[in-house]
């Protein structure tokens, strides 16, 4: 039932969504001044990549069903898991840095982070 309600898997639309999320993330990194928002944007970009991995894994599984290859699609799913773990670690480290910085400078605005260029 539920499966029937779900739309047919379509690789192209998945990739389009992933691209959209990636561009939103990149835009956030480049244009936002708040470091926290930038970190969130980086998470967005990572998840966009995750989506790409997962979509291709699914596409490969569909392809494997036709060719009776049982192991197809495992690599993509594994990578998605890795990226989730790394993203968590990165978020932890990044947040720690941002908090320490905030404690010292009372700001997280990138416009104020110019100590090296002065």
């Amino acid at each position: 039932m539920v499966l029937a309600l779900m739309p047919q898997f379509n690789l192209l639309s998945c990739l389009l969504v992933a691209t959209l999320i990636f561009i939103i993330g990149a835009f956030g990194v480049v244009c936002r001044r708040n470091v926290l928002i930038m970190l969130i944007s980086i998470e967005l970009m990572l998840n966009a990549v995750n989506l790409v991995f997962a979509s291709f894994a699914r596409a490969h599984v569909n392809l494997a069903n036709e060719t009776h290859n049982s192991t197809a699609g495992e690599t993509g799913q594994l990578f998605a898991l890795f990226i989730i773990a790394i993203a968590a670690a990165e978020a932890a480290v990044g947040l720690a840095i941002v908090i320490t910085y905030f404690r010292n400078r009372e700001t997280v605005d990138t416009r104020d982070m110019k100590a090296m260029s002065q």
């Binding site: 990149a26 990194v29 480049v30 936002r32 930038m38 990138t110 090296m116 260029s117």
Partner: protein
């Protein structure tokens, strides 16, 4: 006399030839140590200590040189007892080679020292008079702040001069040659706070450079012809050490030693020419000449000259080399046209004028020509040129000396003139007489300069003779010693200067009698008139300085005092030698030139009767010149009359020419210096400032700065912009890869 000297020799620790031979380097080392001590730690010593270090450096060199020279002479004495052939086979010299210095391709040059009779004469002059002048300087410079620097320079000068004299090849000689030039420059500009002194130093240096260029080119030419710069064969080689003539199978064969030096080659060429083996040398002996085996083992085929100048003969190349070497001598020994630096060099302290610009350094040119006299003998043209330059200089600068007002300038022009006599002597082939005049001139001219220094010291620095006079009673020691120096310079018979100058004049006339070339007669007349002028200006100097009334200002008058003993003792010693220096040594330089000095003069061939006549004429002429000059000057200036007045120059053209030094400096200025300055200014403004500075140097800088000014804007320091650059970069790489994968196939 000789017995006494011999006894003295046996009392001293001398005789071990090889010991003194090996330790020849000590002679220059002593003053060098003095230079280092005073030069590096001068500020830590008191004035007295500095003076003592300087004097001891010179005195130790003198002592060691004396022992070496004594050993050299004792050695000859011992050898004279042996068979004649043996003493002929061995050169009487202490010769040591300390090692190879420069080695390039086929050419190699060693660092060695050679003490033969010729260099022993010079070394005794240099160290002996050097020591006296060091002692004098301790008194003369006692109140000067730069005393340590002064003694450092003086010791460095002695070091360089000893190197020049003792060097066993032309390169070592050249190092010393340049070293004395440097010290001369440093000491002329010793009181550099006055820009005039510094300029005089620079003038001396620049004019000397012109000569030095000629000297260097001359050395190069000799290397091209002979492939060596050594004077004589190295002492370490086995076998014969100098050129010998052997008779084998009724044919005379000229044997050249292995590793022969310049003088050996010259001697071999002379013998071959004399034997008639090279008859028309100019035409038949090309560069790279190899003698046929039956006449000689002379082989110059390995030298580079034959490969470069294929058309040249040895005679032409030697003429060129000698002419170039003589240009070097003209610069160093202040001959026309390069004499202009010497009068200006009087800006230095007076002991420097006495030591460097009268007694030693300026005679280096004479020494060099004498050292290479066997090469110069091969080129008649160059010798004639030497004689002409010397003769003209002797008269020309004597004429300038007639009217100078500055006591040191008179002596300076006198020095130039006397150097002219030395070169006249060399030019007429009487090489030993040139060196003899160096010796006697060193005594009396050093004496006169030191006396003048004593006068200047007493007059609180006044050098103008118009404001002197009447010093006879106040400076008796200075007066009497200067009178002795004066009569020696003027050529009064019996005193040192007469012995050498008279002989040189006689040789000039003999050369005329031999060759009947008018030029030698003209030169003789020049030299005789020059001798008259010499006597005149010398007597004028003494009269204006010491006789008549004192014309000094009152505050100067109050300070006039005789100089301290450290200054008068050198004067007395030099005065003693100015009296006896000629008579005790003249035999060694005339009849004994070849046997005692190893100098082979070119004998003028005249009949005995003619010889007698020429000597008679010459004696009459020189006596007339000496006493005529002295008498005329005494008549004019003796009673404190006729004080020189530059106003007279307005009416008397000869007086004006002489007073203004014949406008030579002005001529040089107009002909050489002015065009040079204009060209330099032009290139400075157009090329240097216009092109190089503004376009090349500043243009590059401006371009870089403009470009980097733009590039700098990239470095915002904003995190976001760096992130965006990363993004652009990543996108760029991606597009590149995609394009590579799909578009370009």
């Amino acid at each position: 006399m000789h017995g006494l000297i011999d006894t003295l020799f046996h009392l001293l620790p001398i005789g071990d030839r090889s010991f003194y031979e090996r330790s020849l380097f000590l002679i220059p080392l002593f003053p060098f140590i003095g230079f280092l001590l005073n030069g590096l730690f001068g500020s830590k010593f008191s004035k007295k200590e500095s003076s003592w270090i300087g004097i001891l450096g010179a005195f130790a060199a003198f002592t060691w040189a004396f022992l070496c020279v004594a050993t050299l002479n004792v050695g000859t004495g011992a050898k004279e007892g042996m068979s004649a052939s043996l003493s002929e086979d061995t050169r009487n010299a202490l010769h040591v080679v300390y090692g190879t210095w420069i080695h390039v391709g086929d050419f190699s040059c060693s660092f060695g020292m050679l003490l033969d009779p010729l260099s022993s004469v010079m070394i005794m002059i240099v160290t002996g008079i050097g020591t006296l002048i060091h002692i004098y300087s301790a008194g003369y410079m006692a109140h000067d702040e730069g005393l340590a620097r002064f003694f450092a320079y003086l010791n460095l000068f002695l070091f360089a001069m000893i190197l020049l004299v003792l060097g066993d090849n032309l390169i070592v000689l050249f190092v010393g040659w340049e070293g004395v030039g440097l010290c001369s420059y440093l000491l002329i500009g010793f009181w550099y706070e006055d820009s005039k002194n510094a300029a005089a130093g620079m003038k001396a240096f620049v004019v000397n450079r012109i000569g030095d260029l000629g000297f260097l080119l001359g050395i190069f030419t000799l290397i091209a012809v002979f492939g060596t710069v050594n004077f004589v064969a190295s002492p370490k080689r086995v076998g014969v050490h100098h050129v010998t003539k052997q008779t084998c199978l009724e044919q005379e064969k000229v044997e050249v030693p292995r590793g022969a030096g310049l003088l050996d080659y010259a001697e071999a060429l002379r013998l071959l020419r004399k034997n008639g083996n090279i008859t028309e040398e100019r035409a038949s002996a090309p560069l790279g000449f190899k003698a046929p085996e039956n006449i000689s083992n002379l082989d110059l085929s390995h030298t580079m000259g034959s490969k470069i100048f294929t058309e040249w003969s040895i005679g032409m190349a030697l003429t060129l080399a000698c002419a170039l070497l003589f240009v070097g001598a003209m610069g160093k020994s202040a001959q026309i046209p390069l004499y202009v630096w010497l009068p200006d060099a009087m800006a230095g302290p007076t002991p420097v004028s006495a030591l460097i610009h009268a007694a030693t350094m300026v005679t280096a040119g004479v020494y060099m020509v004498c050292r290479l006299h066997s090469i110069f003998s091969l080129s008649e043209e160059v010798l004639r040129m030497v004689a002409i330059v010397g003769g003209c200089t002797s008269l020309f600068s004597a004429l300038i000396g007639l009217t100078q007002l500055d006591i040191k300038k008179v002596l300076a022009y006198s020095t130039v003139s006397q150097l002219g006599y030395m070169f006249l002597g060399l030019g007429v082939g009487a090489f030993s007489l040139g060196i003899f005049h160096v010796l006697t001139h060193a005594f009396f001219k050093a004496l006169l300069f030191l006396g003048a220094g004593s006068v200047i010291h007493a007059m609180s620095g006044e050098q103008d003779m118009r404001y002197m006079g009447g010093l006879r009673s106040k400076l008796p020691k200075t007066f009497w010693t200067m009178v002795i120096g004066g009569v020696a310079l003027a050529g009064v018979p019996g005193f040192a200067g007469w012995w050498s100058k008279d002989e040189i004049l006689a040789e000039t006339l003999l050369r005329y009698g031999d060759s009947h070339q008018t030029i030698y007669l003209v030169l003789y007349i020049f030299a005789a008139v020059g001798a008259f002028c010499t006597a005149f200006y010398t007597c004028r100097l003494i009269c204006l300085t010491f006789l008549g009334e004192n014309r000094a200002k009152d505050e100067v008058k109050a300070h006039i005092h005789e100089s301290p003993p450290s200054m008068t003792i050198p004067l007395i010693v030099l005065a003693a030698f100015s009296v006896v220096g000629g008579v005790i040594w003249h035999v060694a330089f005339t009849a004994g030139a070849e046997s005692q000095l190893g100098i082979r003069n070119i004998e003028a061939v005249v009949s005995a009767e003619e010889h007698h006549h020429i000597h008679l004429i010459n004696t009459a002429a020189t006596l007339m010149a000496a006493f005529g000059g002295i008498g005329l000057a005494f008549f004019r200036y003796g009673k404190g009359k006729n004080i020189p007045d530059p106003e007279r120059a307005k009416t008397n053209i000869f007086y004006r020419l002489s007073l203004n030094k014949f406008y030579v400096d002005e001529t040089y200025n107009a002909l050489i210096i002015m065009p040079f300055t204009i060209i330099s200014e032009l290139t400075h403004w157009v090329v240097d400032v216009g092109i190089i500075d503004s376009i090349v140097v500043r243009g590059t800088a401006k371009m870089v700065s403009a470009f980097s000014g733009q590039l700098r804007r990239v470095q915002t320091g904003l995190l976001n912009s760096y992130a965006s650059f990363m993004m652009y970069g990543a996108a760029g790489v991606l597009f590149y890869l995609l394009a590579k994968a799909y578009l370009i196939k």
